[in-house]
């Protein structure tokens, strides 16, 4: 394997160097100003790779727009004439959303995102495809193995999630909302900043389908929303419940980050740091890693 300064630098940035290689890189950097500058520039870019507040909302909007557009006219994807017009609109929405958006829970919401508002309600036969949450993927950490067998396109057997969270039928014969429907409605309310509605719907979901996967994921959304409202104790309960029930779940990084934030707001600094340490130790490459390290470093250097 090549051991050029660039290779060692790149691998150092991935925390993938042995002791001997680290020493070698240090020597090389000491001997090359240009190498030093390039390495430093790389580290500076790594610093900029953190997740920012509002990112999940932006990503959700993008995903929805791409989905909506791809369903209308695949060929139109290549046309970019909409871009200048969209830019102005997005500037406005991004500015409005950026201030209030928190990062994590909407990620969950995206997984079961409902159709865009400009489309009619999804007819029942199609709902089965779009309503159940897609296989859980944390976009903030390396995604897990994903199969799409759960969501076949034509007349599929009910996916496991749908079977578990199947909507009961009320006496009048109308189907009550399924766990996935409730989740999608709650997620939509949250995206539209109707926090009270979103909380009510998520809580309703948890009451009706306490063992569903949607219910577990709702803990993260509820935790983040409670945190945003300043209800740190309630938020902590949600994050810890997620960690208790889904110790190996896809949203554990989000739960640990949220737990740390809630504890910090409650003034329990030591426990907050313990959560960050757990996050770093279990998910050293997650998008939260840089922020967690920075917080821990800041805590160390604080008087």
């Amino acid at each position: 394997m090549s051991q050029s300064i660039e290779d060692l630098s790149a691998r150092a940035r991935r925390a993938n160097l042995g002791e001997a290689e680290r020493r070698r890189l240090k020597l090389m950097l000491g001997a090359s100003v240009e190498g030093q500058l390039l390495h430093r520039a790389g580290l500076d870019f790594d610093e900029e790779n953190a997740v920012l507040p509002g990112d999940d909302a932006i990503a959700a909007r993008i995903a929805e727009r791409v989905l909506a557009r791809s369903s209308r006219a695949p060929a139109a994807r290549r046309r970019r004439k909409w871009l200048p017009l969209a830019a102005a609109a997005c500037l406005i929405t991004a500015a409005a959303a950026g201030a209030a958006a928190r990062y994590h829970g909407v990620i969950v919401a995206r997984r079961t995102a409902s159709p865009p508002a400009d489309r009619p309600p999804t007819p029942a036969p199609e709902r089965r495809l779009s309503s159940p949450p897609p296989p859980a993927v944390s976009p903030l950490v390396a995604p897990p193995a994903i199969t799409v067998d759960d969501a076949p396109e034509v007349d599929p057997p009910p996916p496991p999630i749908a079977r578990r969270a199947a909507a009961p039928t009320n006496p009048s014969g109308n189907a009550t909302p399924s766990a996935a429907d409730l989740f999608a409605d709650a997620a939509r309310a949250r995206r539209e900043r109707n926090v009270d509605d979103a909380i009510r719907l998520f809580e309703s979901l948890q009451r009706r389908y306490p063992t569903s996967l949607e219910s577990r994921a709702a803990d993260i959304s509820l935790g983040m929303m409670q945190l945003g409202r300043g209800a740190a104790t309630a938020a902590l309960d949600h994050f810890r419940r997620y960690l208790r029930h889904s110790a190996d779940g896809e949203l554990v990084p989000e739960a640990l980050w949220g737990e740390s934030e809630a504890l910090r707001k409650l003034g329990r600094a030591e426990e907050s740091r313990a959560s960050l340490s757990a996050l770093l130790s279990r998910f050293p490459d997650s998008a939260y890693a840089a922020a967690a390290r920075a917080k821990l470093d800041a805590a160390k250097s604080a008087p």
Binding site: M1, D7, R11, L37, F45, N49, A59, I62, R77
Partner: protein
Amino acid sequence: MLRSFPGFRRSDLPEALEPPHDELAELAAAVERGNRAALRTFLVAIVPHLLRVVRRVLGSGHPDLEDVAQEAAYGVIDALPRFRGEGTVLHFACRTALHTAMNTRRRDLAQKRAWVRDIVDLEHIAADELGPEALALRGSLAPIVRVLLDELPAPLAEALALHTVLGYTVGEIAQASHAPVETVRSRLRLAKQALRKRIIADGTLRDVAGVEK
């Protein structure tokens, strides 16, 4: 599949490029087959990454971040049929985002030059409140590299961006850009020289970066 070209050897690739289990590969295949549920999941998985790549290339203050990230998402979906397993799907997506953002930078620059030529609206030009030098004084070399991405010849800029922004090794850059390893080394060498030259040319930056003339 790797394209064959003079000077390229599989053994030049670092271990990191040896095909790992690609968790998004199956999903990407389903997207190509037109599976809409798979597309949703795929987008959920990749868009946050695309957004962060675009932000690193354009800078966090760029007004079109969201649009460019969206353009990158379209780019990834469009390009999936051409993906031949060079690295993971996520790497491929991030590279696509990087190129989309770099194209945007160059397009912006051309537009700015046109404004200067025509003196249409000087306020547009003055909209850059802080220049890259001023930003670099805050302690980061990233803004200087961004300027170089605009100024350097495209192959050099690509190598520089793949290394600094995405953290690629020489072998990975060679694979991604279908260039021989030695060519990539040479490109990175020239890019490094340009970076140093840029810093040396500015007395204050020189002090901040601790570079001697």
